[in-house]
Amino acid sequence: MLLSLLLLTTVWSTDIHIHGTVRDSVERIAIGGVSVHVVGTLNGTFTNREGMFHLHNVDTTVQQIEVKLVGYKRKVLRVERADVLRGADLHIDVLLVRDTVQSKEVIVQDHRSAQTGMSTQNVYTLDQEEIETRRGQTFSELLTVVPGVTLMSTGPSITKPVIHGMSSQRLVVMNAGLVQEGQQWGAEHGPEIDAFTPSTISVLKGPASVVYGMGAMGGVVNVEPRKLPSTSALTGEATVNGFSNAWQGAMAAYVEQGNLFNAPLAIRAQGSIRRAGDARTPEYALTNTGFKEIDGSVVVGYEQDSMGVVATASIVTSTLGIYSGSHIGNATDMLRVIERGGPDVTYPFSYTIDRPRQEIYHVLTSVRAYMTLPHVGTVKATYGWQQNNRQEFDAHYARTSGPAMELLLNTYTADVSLAHELVPSMQGTVGVNVRRQVNSRGGTVYLIPDYLAWNVGAYLLESYVVEKWTLSAGLRYDAQSLDATLVDRLTRTSAHRATDYASATASVGALVAVADGITVGANAGLGWRPPAVNELYSNDVHHGVAQYEIGDPNLMPERNTEADLTLTLARNGWNIEASVYANIFQHYIYAMPDPQNPTITVRGTFPTFRYTQTAATISGADLRASYQCTDVWQVYTTASVVRGTDRDNSTPLIFMPADRLRLGVHAHVGDVFGLHDLSADVSVLGVRTQDRYVAGADYAAPPPGYVLTDVTLASEVNVGGTALRCSLTCKNLFNVAYRDYLSRYRYFALDAGRDVVLRLTIPFGGS
């Protein structure tokens, strides 16, 4: 004990703490994601959203600190020996100069970390602290830090992001350079992405069809594996998470090494496991909501400035329990549960996962290559293969062993693009995408048929930087051919039905630095998607919502026209980003209730819903603001408002997120009690009731609003020279009983109650 205390003291006394902020030299706006690195060591970090960085355990021999980011001129700061000796706490403010005449190096860098959307669009990149202190049970939970992003949930284990009131087929999730291809059409089908993937995550709000093709109407979530290391040291990180609510444990680890065989060859291997029992509401446990997950991935890269190849392979396997109380027979059962207000009998906590449940695996492999051709530009090629297998086991079919529904989706993609610079300050990309997708169904449920789909797309994007202006424009053309195999259930004969869709899309945008620290950006764009297979051909009971859904094979593609305006201000401690947007939809596809024709089955009568189209508008506003009162204290707020209207019927759109506001205080205490970089965060989230709904169209009216309080403590603890990062979070501190409007269990039960989360990250290896 005494020895370890001595050890700690020695470490502290020779240790320097360097912190500071990085800003844009023209706009004076804080820049996140900037690499700050002590030259000649492995010691480095990235700036957070406020442009702040903290470097620890800096050796007294420190001489130079390198600050760099794609699109900016690299800066190397000399650290004076006198400064080092004067104190153990250095504050540095850095202004980075934009690299308007983009160097070759920048172009290459650009191709290692793909940019999300057009340069004038509103992109939120989560910083390392946001990822580490928010990593939850599912990948999507991370994204709620972004104003305007909410979750649609089917219990704690299945969540999917909703951006500006749009989800599922109206969003694109990119993973390792590929569009994640699962069964997105299902509200209870979350994106199959490991929450532990070492990655950078950015969220683009707004139409991005020009870059990402069909479906990117509401926005894009881009998950990129972190850059591979270039040094030959074998390093890694182990992460352990514990969640009190469902007695959930999760572990993950990765190891990585660069400079293999003295070549620019690097590898990273990662794995994670997770096990959770029944989630608990303030009043009862949610029986059969446990889940388990085993994931792994390998990334190998050979990267030079002029050319390189990066290959990624990953697998996500999970077994997800579906709350037994949400499993009902027919519409009368549903009303009986709603009247009861909760489960009939409550069972003690258990790890058992019984029927109904989902068993899923998702394999994703991508190979990305780039090569710089003199006087031409950089050619980038991506090949991808994904296999998504989903088996849904229904308690009604408990006497047979197989799943009620099995879906196997194979997707093959090939993308080729050329990044070029036609004239100085004008950069662009031209590219083509090809996709082949094969779906095969098994079991007895007819929500989607077997199908084969081919997609081809071509696009051109140009961006022009002149003084304080950035201008962007893009053009794209997509075509899809869908061949579905429809089965007549009585005769068991099948017939093919082919549909073709094609559309052109375009986007324009401008960003201007109007004054010191103030920018205004505006974008307008078109988005589209062909009708999804379930919207065309569904013909069965959708369990859990007790409705009979009937597709319409004659649906037309859905289109939207979006315009947004974003103001950012970074001055005198203020950091404000405010945006407004409006989405005008043509042929908005939704399931319309048909009360005149209820569906009679042997299991009873179900309300019939028919997929149909209408003119709709979704508009709203997002706000994120923070004020740095002192070096320690920061107050912040995020808010979002979404309004959806069916223009043809002059009614509100169903399932729009309710208005929400978060207020918080963040304290970066620094070093106390032998803790490094201690920070505390308290925030209160208020959600209004959704008062815009059509009475009687849903089984139950939207639930009342609620207020939740979250507290987080985070710090670095030095144990024997290893800097452990740990955080303790308490979500729903006061164990408030509530139901969220976008929770699909809200008809049956409360949302989960208090959850105490402990997260530990242990770096290892290195010099």
Partner: protein
Amino acid sequence: MIRFTVALIVLVVGLQGCKESATSSGQNVDHDGVTTVTLTLTNTATLSTQSFIWEDLDGVGGAAPNRIDTISVAADSVYQGSLAFENRKASPPVNITIDVLNERNNHQVFYAIAGAMATVTTTDLDGRNLPLGLKTNWSNLKKSLGAITVSLSHYPDSTTKKGTNPSTETDVNVVMPLTIR
């Protein structure tokens, strides 16, 4: 380097020899779903027997039910009722009544009459002496018209079966017109 790249691409493309068909058994056959509900009524005085059928041959979804008989009984008579569940879509047809009998503690059939004047009482019991409902007694029949709803409740946890409460997992729920002449 080039060899490395080619090897890598070949490796990944090689994975294309993957399966593209779902492997679940029972493809397109809802082995367990009830398609046919048969109510057999025996007049206790004359011992004459009649069967009334509700049938949806293609199962839940697809086409509407293909047969819904009108139950026709004589006023002031007493009948013994017997209920059967089958899956006639499967070949050979599956007798699901046996499954219900085997899991009698987890099931109960409820009868609800609307409009017509009759009393239907359950005469069979499960392993815990709670009503099961496959066997019934029909009495107090008065000349009238109406409908009867026959529903089979499934209780995954048998302790939630109390003999009077329908569950929220209804396996069968059919409505048949009822004429008492």
